[in-house]
Symmetry: C3
Subunit: 130 residues, 3 copies
Amino acid sequence: MIKQLSISAPCQGLHEITREIAAAVSDSGLQEGLCTVFIKHTSASLIIQENADPSAARDLEQWLNRLVSENDQRYTHTSEGPDDMPAHIKSTLTATSVSVPVINGTWQGLFLWEHRRANMQRTVIVHTGA
Amino acid sequence: MIKQLSISAPCQGLHEITREIAAAVSDSGLQEGLCTVFIKHTSASLIIQENADPSAARDLEQWLNRLVSENDQRYTHTSEGPDDMPAHIKSTLTATSVSVPVINGTWQGLFLWEHRRANMQRTVIVHTGA
Amino acid sequence: MIKQLSISAPCQGLHEITREIAAAVSDSGLQEGLCTVFIKHTSASLIIQENADPSAARDLEQWLNRLVSENDQRYTHTSEGPDDMPAHIKSTLTATSVSVPVINGTWQGLFLWEHRRANMQRTVIVHTGA
């Protein structure tokens, strides 16, 4: 019913985790119900993205990078690097948990949105229930 | 337990779907539990709005339109029209799924927030569970 | 399974409610499952914050205050004070409901993010289920 997954996010940007989540849903045996995905971090988030066109993902990332600048002298939380405070802000503006109805075992595209620039290891928790 | 609804969103802006969701909750027979609403699109979103004053909704829409401009030469994903990439960004900044506890069968106001300008047909999935 | 909590938010900013939510989860007897927290307001929101460093919370609040200005002559919804319309916008950009998997009864840090400046009393609803 609950499964923890460890996901590699080698760089800033969208990393597809659809296959991992679909496998967890499949393992649970759930055919119809609700799948809730939760990311155990506050500097990365979750995003549903149907669009196969990579230009949309790239525009999205660049837009958010322009909105939440790294070079803001007003940040005081700077001990963890210049990309850390922007990552917290970005995670607040996007989703930490996503609940998706499961019908006939099928599932939509889900991405882990890494907001830090370093190679990160992230934990995602999947809950399935009727 | 799961019901798919088809919702008309004739123009950009907030479209109330409280009645449709309440009917789905009522049909499920759920008196106390959790209702999760999910929108199967990435250029529209869901928003809970208690305020009956239409000026708040209008200010909200106009503020988001100013934040996410259509006329940005830096967008590269432009093949689906000038309002498409802004719609994807807006949907990322707002909610794709909303989970609302149901008590005594009552329900709050929920709106589909259409970010595209054309007349769209949207699918919303309602999951109810104890 | 469903519990309503009344939370005092004496000023604008993040107010930790982890203890209250953990108590509600504990009262429910749930050891493994899903806890969904919902805030019954559209001028306050919920935020998960792991970081114990108060500088991150302060930077976050100040960044959002700069993004959503109180002094915008284009707002028309002004009858409830200068901080009301910004509070609605901020609540739209952040989370109204958060679903967190519960494992061995443990729980992460959750905060009520008050967007109004007055002393407010807020209602938060906690749903727990297997």
